[in-house]
Amino acid sequence: MSDRKLPRLLQAPAVLLLLVWMLIPLGMTLYFSFIRYVLNSLRRPEWTSPSLSNWRGFGNYEFVLKSKDFLLAIQNSLFIVCSILFLTVILGVLIAVLINKAFPGQGVVRVLLISPFFVMPAVNAVLWINMILDPVLGLQGIAVAGINEFLDGLRQIPVLGGFFSLWPEFEPVSFRATQTSAIAVIMMVTWQWTPFAVLIFMTSLQSEDQQQKEAAVLDGASTWSQFRFLTLPHLGRPIAIVVMIQAIFHLSLYAEIEIVSRGNGNKNLPYLIGEFANNNIGAASATGIFAVILANFVAIFLLRMVGKTLME
């Protein structure tokens, strides 16, 4: 019947657009990754426009693999994504279980909790790194200074003061530093995405079988056993969803890293590509291909997990 053609026709624009979107830029990236191509070169001006005569084979890939930033960027990408996933899922489950039962003001608490999810990443980063985490002017700085001042006051007390003078001065932490900037990014993204996890888990908890729980209570299951053997397995599927969606978003984290430290000590793959792309397009493209391969690994794994549940 004609029923067959129409659905194809209706899908066609979406499919074609995405196909073009995927193939053309990706094809160009692939091409650039095999040629010498830089934006500015006084010495070799012929390299500044893409051309097959500048063929470099796997040279760009070797260059990228040898640069010490590359390995750091991969490690850092994974460190950031995995930390965020771990924290958001744990916090998400705990908070969801906490606020799932009715209590006065439940609706308001929900609204308060979801708010961070809607904040734009650029604002999120600016807000956290300056107003909250800044070691001098941010709340962190002010709080540490306040504690030190308070301790100073205690040291003036006769007799007891001797005890407090043994205490060290507290040092505020600079989150723009090499060792700490990834922590700042993890903190702010966790703040933004935990609400998402909470709401999805809550939605799921509401569909939990109450009779099953009552049966468990009659069977003598403790609160912990109920959580461990009924609630947690019930949350398996939503956890998979939360992990998948967040992986999609966090593998391409960029604004936060740029704003926190301009990538100082904390480059992930997208950031490294951005840096290369300031001049060495060949290297940027080769890094891009590595990023695609990494993403594919993650994608195959995640899509399998979610795909099963999709068509039911």
Binding site: Q106, M120, N130, M131, L137, L199, T203, S252, Y254, A255
Partner: protein, 277 residues
């Protein structure tokens, strides 16, 4: 019995206190931003004015002078609204076809669509800049609208697909028996029934467009630059302008946060891709 008694005590006092604590903790950074936006830049960094200060609206009144706020805000509105409209225009028919006339390849097509979302944007950054510049679209609304639509298309189709699938197939078939054609099916049955789903998809796409901070930063300089670019360009590492920065940040996220409050339930349901009921 002791455990039961204890847990009920927890329910009465512990749970509300703890829950409110967590809720306020998560909301605190936003509250702090809004509070700071009413302080002068000088007061904003003084510990003695942490909580007690003379509120001022100057930061908001001077947003145009300080940051050219309205220019960026207008760009954000233009790109987010147009991209949302275009995304829906393409995704509603596609999701409709997939939900009600699935073929054996439908699942794979959906998976493939989502996998394009996993394609790291950075991998194709330079080709995009190159293409945009060579056809003269760099830093234009058209470019930003196109890119925003494309990156949100997979999510929109997935969300709509799950909403449409909730509509019983029987109803669509009853429509067929009653003599509706395809256009009638969309107009008379699908849209009225999935109105909530379509609206929340639109809303979520709009939010993602509004908040997008990779392409909008890298593919614009000034003419099509959005609020993300504005904020990113004023990270103020020395913190001299906390007051005015808070004001412009509040103005950038305020509308979206409020919008999100009203629709959070539907949004979450759509985002679970139907895997959580």
């Amino acid at each position: 019995m002791a455990i039961v008694a204890q847990s009920s005590k927890f329910s009465t006092y512990g749970r509300p206190v703890l829950a409110w604590g967590v809720g306020l903790l998560f909301f605190f950074p936003i509250f702090w931003m809004v509070l700071t936006s009413f302080k002068t830049d000088a007061d904003a960094v003084k510990p003695e004015h942490l909580i007690f200060f003379t509120p001022t609206f100057d930061n908001y009144l001077n947003m145009t002078d300080n940051y050219d706020y309205w220019r960026f805000a207008t760009n954000s509105v233009i790109s987010a609204v147009s991209a949302t409209a275009f995304t829906l225009f393409v995704s509603v028919p596609a999701a409709y076809a997939m939900a009600f006339n699935p073929s054996r390849s439908t699942k794979d097509v959906l998976m493939w669509m989502l996998s394009t979302k996993m394609l790291p944007a950075a991998a194709v950054l330079y080709p995009m800049i190159f293409l945009a510049k060579s056809i003269g679209l760099y830093d234009t609304h058209i470019l930003i609208i196109t890119v925003l639509s494309l990156i949100n298309l997979p999510i929109a189709i997935w969300m709509l697909f799950t909403y449409f699938k909730e509509i019983p197939k029987d109803i669509i078939e009853a429509g067929k028996m009653d003599g509706v054609n395809t256009w009638g099916e969309i107009k008379e049955i699908l849209v009225p029934l999935a109105w909530g789903g379509i609206a929340s998809t639109a809303l979520l796409v709009f939010i993602f467009c509004w908040n997008e901070a990779y392409w909008t930063v890298r593919l614009t300089t000034i003419d099509a630059a959005t609020l993300s670019k504005l904020i990113e360009g004023n990270r103020a590492p020395e913190g001299l302008f906390f007051g005015r920065l808070s004001a412009v940040s509040t103005a950038a996220v305020g509308p979206i946060v409020v919008l999100g409050w009203f629709c959070q339930k539907q949004l979450v349901q759509g985002l679970t891709f139907g895997a959580v009921k």
